[in-house]
Amino acid sequence: MTKLLEWLFGVSFVLVAWAVVSFDLLDLSLPQTYREVAWPMPLYLLVSFGCYSLATVGYRVATFNDCEEAAKELQEQIKEAKEDLRKKGLKM
């Protein structure tokens, strides 16, 4: 099953469950509180996911490692390499 299909199945399942509870489609006679809580759920979930995404990406950008030493080390090794290669006869 492709990821797309997995998502479609998952979303459909959630929407069906939501519709059944919110609109009492199966005449389940659920308590009013269930319906009141279920009704705004899709919107809440979307907004929560949006906030989670922003927070996660923001955190990951802020903690993205800057490899200062790696860059310095590379510069030094470049010098060393050029010198050694010159000695070995490389003409650049």
Partner: protein, 242 residues
Amino acid sequence: MSPWQADKYSVLLPTYNERENLPLIVWLLVKYFGESGYNYEIIVIDDGSPDGTLEIAEQLQKIYGEDKILLRPREKKLGLGTAYIHGIKHATGNFIFIMDADLSHHPKFIPEFIEKQKEGNYDLVSGTRYQGNGGVYGWDLRRKLISRGANFLTQVLLRPGASDLTGSFRLYKKKVLESLVERCVSKGYVFQMEMIVRARQLNYTIGEVPISFVDRVYGESKLGGNEIVSFVKGLLTLFATT
């Protein structure tokens, strides 16, 4: 004979206009492979570079030997997937390293890749910029934001089981690389992503090693609208087809 001497690591270096960098990356590869004692060869796949990369490669071959530096050039720029296929055909190792030739990937991580692979007998080991003490040098805020944002989107949509999908510093078992390359159809960044996704589909095991990525080219290379659009297209295609 020690057990690890039976393994041989072929490093594939596709090059295009890397006259300046090729000697340096080869020097570093020779240094770290030499120090670690692992058996290796470097296969330079030059796509007809007009700047004389091949000529420099020939000089390196004289210095380091034809058993260590193999030249398998092509006439023109033909793309990464075919470069790998071409390289694999000539590789005598049972393991293959792929990496960039522009010094953004540092050979000092090679022993870590090898040890990681042995640790779990992984089918492939992927270098990650996003975990552990992996990271990047030379990126501004915009670039970091795009990178993390794209990676987040990819994680949500594909749940790939690897933290860095667009990275191209990897170690593969030769047979694994062969079977993946023939299945992959994308180009550019998306090609590297597709390799990981297909590896998961085929139940290959994936290990990770944090790496530092030193971007000296950024500023000359652009991550503009076009690349972003084609990345999103490629991602959605993988989402819908795998």
